[in-house]
């Protein structure tokens, strides 16, 4: 099971703050995104250029490896401070 989270604009576009996805064996963020896009058009924003990715709360690239139990978050460029 992969725990997926969306924040800010992405949370609103996804219509959910988090969801869980069954996953057996190691995969990558990129193929996780493909799976999500196949499931639902609402995740279209995940193919835009300005998507930040965090795997287990650490900023990561789209080729980052993910395994069962990992937390993967997608969010737009940050605007705090």
């Amino acid at each position: 099971m992969i725990n997926i989270k969306f924040f800010a604009d992405f949370r609103e576009r996804a219509g959910v703050a988090s969801l869980k996805l069954e996953q057996s064996g190691e995969t990558t963020v990129a193929s996780l995104v493909e799976t999500l896009l196949e499931q639902n058009n609402d995740f279209e924003f995940l193919s835009s250029k300005n998507v930040l990715i965090a795997v287990n709360q650490t900023l990561s690239a789209s080729d980052a490896k993910i395994n069962d139990g990992d937390e993967v978050a997608f969010f737009p460029p940050v605007t705090g401070g």
């Binding site: 924040f7 709360q57 650490t58 900023l59 940050v78 605007t79 705090g80 401070g81």
Partner: protein, 155 residues
Amino acid sequence: MMIKVQSADFCVGEEYSRLRQNADSDGAIVTFTGLVRDFNQDGSVSSMFIEHYPGMTEKSLMKICSEARMRWELGQISVIHRIGHLTASEQIVFVGVTAKHRKEAFEGAQFIMDYLKNSAPLWKKEGTLSGMKWVDSKTSDEQALTRWYEDKQVS
């Protein structure tokens, strides 16, 4: 190192006193405070909502402070970031740094703010005349990072 992510306001005088109390032999204390400005690119801002990634925000701020310590000899570091609803002119963020010398304290505090702006998972939604709207990230914030690239990079 003290990191706080909170909805409550903070008192700069108290934060300064705490830094000073623990400053030991440090001769310089620099504080930065960010306020909700009463305007921005898109018109008048009357209110603001700040969303964050619980857990990762704190982790990210800790990492930024550790990176600052690797670059400069710093004493005390305090970072406070508010979340939730804020109104015009309220305090959003506080960074306080002590160091033996002023150059380190200034640069350490500026570095922490520059990286916080670009890597801490926090998002602003502003209430403008045309409704609530997510704030766009600024290229000037990305540019501000380039001055720290000489050495190494916070991911």
